[in-house]
Amino acid sequence: MTKLTTLIFMFSMGLIFTGAEAFAGEEEPKIVAADTAWMLISCALVMLMVPGLALFYGGMDRSKNILSTLLLSFVCLGVITVQWTLFGYSLAFGGDVGKVIGDFSFVALNGVGLEPNGTIPHQLFMVFQMMFAILTPALISGALVGRMKFKTFVVFIILWSTLVYDPLCHWVWGGGWISDLGALDFAGGLVVHISSGVSALAACILLGKRKGFPAEPMPPHNLTLTLLGAGLLWFGWFGFNAGSELAADAVAASAFVVTQIAAGAGLLGWMFTEWYHRGKPTLLGAASGGVAGLVAITPAAGFVGPISAIMIGVIAGAVCYMAVVAKHRFGYDDSLDVFAVHGIGGTIGAILTGLFATAAIGGTDGLFFGNPGQLVIQLVSVAAAWVYSFGVTFAILKVLDATMGLRVSEQDEVQGLDLSLHGERGYTL
């Protein structure tokens, strides 16, 4: 009797539930309070990554350039905020034009109001994406420290964001051709990390080496700052990855969990590889490995499970370390290893997503779960992001080199950019 009652109860609940779902489907999209709350927090978390990145980089540079290095990241909070508001958001997320770019429908945030976009206000979606657009050019700055003209850098990030980031963002997230292809990029392996890392490589090749590199030693001047920065990056990355679900739901929780796991595994991957290679475990290695793991899980979060996250993190930590070491063979001066950590780390993440993705979490299987086609799609999208980022960055900097000049004078470089460009010093002891 009791069993029967339970059955009937469950059945009727099931009917009500299905009915409710069908009804919701016909309704206008509605703002969900929980999702909105989580996304507001996520925005703030991602914003904190920018000063975090500034400190991460600042500690690794020499003391005479600490403020200029911090400013290269921090100024993006000003420049890209305005660029995104005026036209960047429209180019990335406006009405699709030929699957390559957005139109001008959202220029000056015209039509970007508080109406629902999914389950959150449209402006909230816009500002969340803005934080990504700010962080990405800031990542590039690590390759350019100690020798680039500040005003050229400001013009560069406006052009770069407009000509590289906004189109790429449209391709992957704004309804462009890469999203049609079915490429998986949960939180920006292609859009943020490959784009910034590969562009950093192009930029540091054109800009040339720091005076004295590599003969003169240029060790980090304050690794305590670097660890503080790495900690803030790690913290903010929860908003970056779990926030990319755009909702406070189970997938967001899964993305959060694998973010932590991959970061921890990346820390170990880099630290043990360096330990084996050089005989000592280092703090800078642990911090860099954590970041490498975070980079690699960025495209994969929301698509992979915990054990896959360990694999992704360990591989990223070890391979990014090797990429840093390889830099010295090739001789380019990617000063703070943006290419090795973000370019290579992002590439590893995007490819491994094609291996480890499982439909049980994100709705799409990768090679290891019986869908080899996904790996092909991932490889195509990676190649597209590499070629486009490298080519356009190269072209932008060629033009800037001919018009404004890229480098400060040798005298200014030797004195240090804090004093010569900004008239201030980080440390007055």
């Binding site: 060790p219 360096e274 290679h277 050089r278 280092t282 800078l284 290695g285 370390y321 840093v324 070491v325």
Partner: protein, 112 residues
């Protein structure tokens, strides 16, 4: 009057200061310095790249003494600063011509 310039390992500063003040010495001047002797430098490791650091951090103590305190000051300093390892430092002894206390204008041993 003699001046001792004592270069020691930084962590030995406290013990050397104790030893000197126990002798009744009333003032010393301390500077953080860098240099190398037979110990040479060391290597540092950043992201897999090895850097050779030639100059090691040391502490230099300057103290001016009456002649009769010099030998015992040297003896106590050696006792306090020695670890028995290479890099323990050195003591340089030089004659001092004149000492002036700025506040009162006193000169010579009175002013030490």
């Amino acid at each position: 009057m003699k001046k001792l310039e004592i270069v020691i390992k930084p962590f030995k500063l406290e013990q050397v200061k104790e030893a000197l003040t126990n002798l009744g010495i009333q003032g010393i001047t301390v500077t953080e310095v860098k240099g190398f002797g037979r110990q040479k430098g060391h290597t540092e490791l950043y992201r897999g790249a090895e850097y050779t650091v030639d100059f090691l951090p040391k502490v230099k103590i300057e103290v001016v003494l009456k002649e009769d305190l010099v030998e015992s000051a040297i003896e106590k300093t050696i006792k306090a600063a020695s670890t028995g390892n290479i890099g323990d430092g050195k003591i340089f002894v030089t004659p001092v011509e004149e000492v002036v206390r700025i506040r009162t204008g006193e000169r010579g041993e009175e002013a030490i």
